[in-house]
């Protein structure tokens, strides 16, 4: 029989052991917050006894960018000895959950990366700080950030995020298949009629050949409807307009390409292969996808490929996706955090590092960096990445975009697989969206 004292000791030890495992890291001792003047004007600062530590959470460094981000951190800390950056990187799949849990649990990182689609939700919940005052106080030149990219992270005229990196969606095509089918390569002035005609000829090359991969999903559809002068929301984002005639026309073409001409493979024909996997097989003429596919296609495609600006319909519209940097509303070191995110967004060294290591494009438009980017091949026509910027339409800026995407996505799938007509699917989507989401 165990002695009472031994038992009590065991209980205490076990419980302590448990807590030891999940103890929070020791918080840095409280220091005087850096005032705006100190942070902005005195550069480089004299090292203080206890530097401020800024927690920075991000996802985009996860895919091969960790070392580059580390170099950026070193550059920043060298110029700002009073600020230490604690980088926390998570994969895209878990990033949203991690960030939300940290914020919900009262342990928000000082600053973090946000995708353009999640950003309005954080503004809606006042979870991130407006940056206008801090921007006004800075002496840094911000002119290299284009108006469009700054606008993308502003809501109702207030700036909430520093534009960090961006991508566009382009038309990527298999040059070898175009040669085999005797079709001329796509150009920037192509419409979908040209693309669909070329796709038909490529499909005719063989039984399991396809002309075009164009996803029938919310992320694709929000932009395609713009090419038909349609739109998923009214101008001031206060009402859904999902089933308007222009949208139905846009969806009809997408569905016909699968169901009627079958120039696009159906999900059944693709099976467990994703869109990229299908294109990489070398039997599909074109794919509409993001420029983030370049590294993967360069490695895996055993054929020649190039890009063009995405074709349009009545007008042109392209997909612009950006990641921005925001400061948590709960941060106690907002000024220091601002210095860091401003550095990431505007530094020429950062822009060059990103391009050298083939990371996403920086929003800062330094000519040297852009020239460096344009020289990389494939694709030979890398200029189309920049040309696409002339037609960009951002994702709808509403707090419930994620839910909207799922509801609409399910109806688009129903249209794509033929269980509903495009009109029916969009009518049902309109009704479901109105029932589930209150806008305004």
């Amino acid at each position: 029989m165990l002695k009472k004292s031994t038992v009590i000791l065991m209980v205490v030890l076990m419980v302590l052991g448990l807590f030891a495992g999940c103890q929070a890291p020791a918080a840095p001792e409280a220091t005087e917050p850096v005032t705006t003047e100190e942070a902005m004007v005195t550069e480089p600062e004299a090292p203080a006894a206890e530097p401020i530590t800024i927690d920075f959470m991000n996802f985009s460094a996860n895919e091969g960018g960790l070392l580059t981000l580390g170099l950026m951190k070193d550059l920043f800390e060298k110029d700002n000895p009073n600020i230490k950056i604690n980088i926390e990187t998570f994969g895209w799949d878990t990033y949203g959950t991690q960030l939300q849990t940290r914020i919900g649990g009262g342990d928000a990182p000082d600053c973090f990366e946000l995708g353009l689609d999640a950003f309005p939700s954080y503004v809606d919940q006042s979870a991130i700080l407006p940056l206008d005052e801090m921007t006004a106080a800075t002496t840094t030149d911000l002119s290299m950030l284009t108006e469009k990219s700054v606008q993308a992270f502003s809501l109702n005229g207030v700036k909430y995020g520093m534009p960090y990196s961006y991508s566009t969606v382009v038309l990527i095509y298999n040059k070898d298949l175009f040669d085999q089918a005797g079709v001329s390569y796509p150009t920037a002035d192509w419409t979908w009629a040209d693309a669909d005609a070329a796709a038909l000829k490529i499909k005719a090359l063989g039984e399991d050949y396809y002309g075009l991969i164009q996803p029938i999903s919310t992320y694709e559809f929000f932009k395609v409807v713009k090419q038909y002068n349609g739109g998923l929301l009214n101008d001031d984002n206060t009402a859904f307009t999902v089933n308007r005639a222009e949208n139905v026309e846009a969806l009809q073409r997408l569905v016909d390409n699968v169901q009627v001409t079958n120039i696009c493979p159906s999900t059944e024909q693709r099976g467990s292969l994703d869109e990229w996997g299908m294109f990489k097989l070398g039997k599909t003429g074109m794919i509409v996808t993001g420029i983030w596919a370049f590294p993967s296609f360069t490695t895996d495609c055993a054929f020649n490929w190039d890009i063009a600006v995405e074709p349009g319909a009545v007008t042109k519209a392209t997909h612009y996706f950006a990641n921005g940097l925001a400061i948590s509303a709960d941060s106690e070191n907002a000024e220091a955090a601002y210095k860091w995110i401003e550095f990431l967004a505007t530094s020429e060294q950062v822009a060059q590092l990103r391009i050298q290591l083939g990371w996403e494009l920086p929003c800062a438009t330094y000519q040297t960096a852009m020239d460096q980017y344009a020289k990389l091949t494939p694709p030979a026509n890398r200029q189309a990445v920049f040309d696409s910027l002339d037609y960009v339409v951002p994702v709808p800026q509403i707090a419930q975009f994620s839910q909207m995407g799922d509801i609409l996505g399910a109806e688009l799938e129903a249209a794509a697989n033929g269980t509903k007509t495009p009109q029916q699917a969009l009518d049902d989507a309109q009704a479901a969206l109105e029932a589930a989401i209150t806008l305004g």
Binding site: Q100, G105, G106
Partner: protein, 303 residues
């Protein structure tokens, strides 16, 4: 005597303490908090301050979340999908795991190896398992459709076809779980006294009759246990759906836990997600209670 009992309680507490602390921190406290959150419009992307009056002033919405859920078509459709899953999964799983247990019960060469083989899927992570099943069920290159084609059947598009997607998920789930339930049945089979079979044999009973009149009745406590566990697990259907279909195609595999996850972590409606969780808890509780009540009619505990 009394001192002795106290000592026993203390010793038991010592061993239970670590898991109790874990249970309190990881399960009981969040469980209680989620009840409070379910009456709020809290998004999950602002700090949670349940003990601050201003938090409640800002976020308290009474039973609005519950009312909204019960009125939404989506909730009932998700429940219907869970029911479809159960109707397919539970009988298939019962038959296959009982079959495995019967096969492994007889001492044959290599029984230990096969016992391990059937148990491997239980230990496999759902991520790996679901990815393998996505390949198996591929309409073009999948092994299942290839086998079906060899016997003259053109297989469906499984996960890409709204009519077949749930069945595809059921197949993967049965593969994953049958080893575990098989082991429970095997334990039950080993406990049946062989004397019953000998007596039945002497009385001229065949194998099938012995199975029906001895094996099945003696296994009812296991069947009951397996039914409860698999029913609860069916309501918790989640990882395989997220990985294999992400609730698609066209929402055909949308289920309750997937909805809870999406509302909480993708749509930033943590209050709504918490209310959904509590409704799910009530449903599971009700079903378990009913099963517990009904068991008297068919479960036989006389070994």
């Amino acid at each position: 005597m009394r001192k002795n009992r106290n000592n026993h309680t203390l010793t038991a507490s010592a061993f239970l303490a670590p898991s109790m602390v874990g249970f309190l921190l990881i399960a009981a406290i969040p469980f209680a908090l989620s009840f409070g959150i379910s009456f709020t419009s809290w998004s999950g992307i602002k700090g949670l301050a349940l003990f601050s009056p201003s938090f409640w002033q800002e976020n308290f919405i009474g039973f609005e979340n519950y009312a909204k859920i019960l009125k939404s078509k989506e909730f009932w459709v998700s429940l219907l999908h869970v029911a479809q899953y159960m109707v397919l999964y539970i009988p298939l799983m019962l038959v296959s795991s009982l079959g495995i247990a019967m096969l492994l019960n007889k001492p044959r060469k290599g029984t230990a190896f096969f016992r391990l083989l059937f148990y491997i899927p239980v230990l496999t992570s759902w991520v790996a398992g679901a990815i393998i099943w996505k390949w198996v069920l591929d309409p073009q290159y999948g092994i299942l459709n290839d086998i079906l084609l060899r016997v003259g059947i053109e297989g469906p598009a499984w996960l890409q076809d709204p009519k077949w997607a749930m069945f595809g998920i059921v197949l993967a789930s049965v593969w994953k779980d049958m080893g575990f339930y098989g082991l429970i049945f095997l334990g039950g089979l080993k406990n049946i006294n062989p004397i019953y079979y000998e007596a039945a044999h002497l009385d001229g009973a065949g194998r099938f009759q012995s199975f029906l009149k001895i094996t099945l009745p003696m296994l009812t406590p296991m069947v009951f246990f397996v039914l409860i566990i698999s029913l609860i697990n069916s309501f918790m259907l989640f990882p395989q759906v997220m990985i294999m279909t992400n609730a698609g195609p066209a929402g055909a595999t949308q289920v309750i836990v997937e909805r809870i996850y999406k509302y909480g972590f993708s749509y930033y409606k943590m209050g709504y997600a918490s209310a959904l969780s509590w409704l799910l808890f009530l449903i599971v509780f009700l079903f378990t209670y009913l099963q517990q009540k009904l068991q008297k009619k068919w479960v036989n505990y006389d070994a």
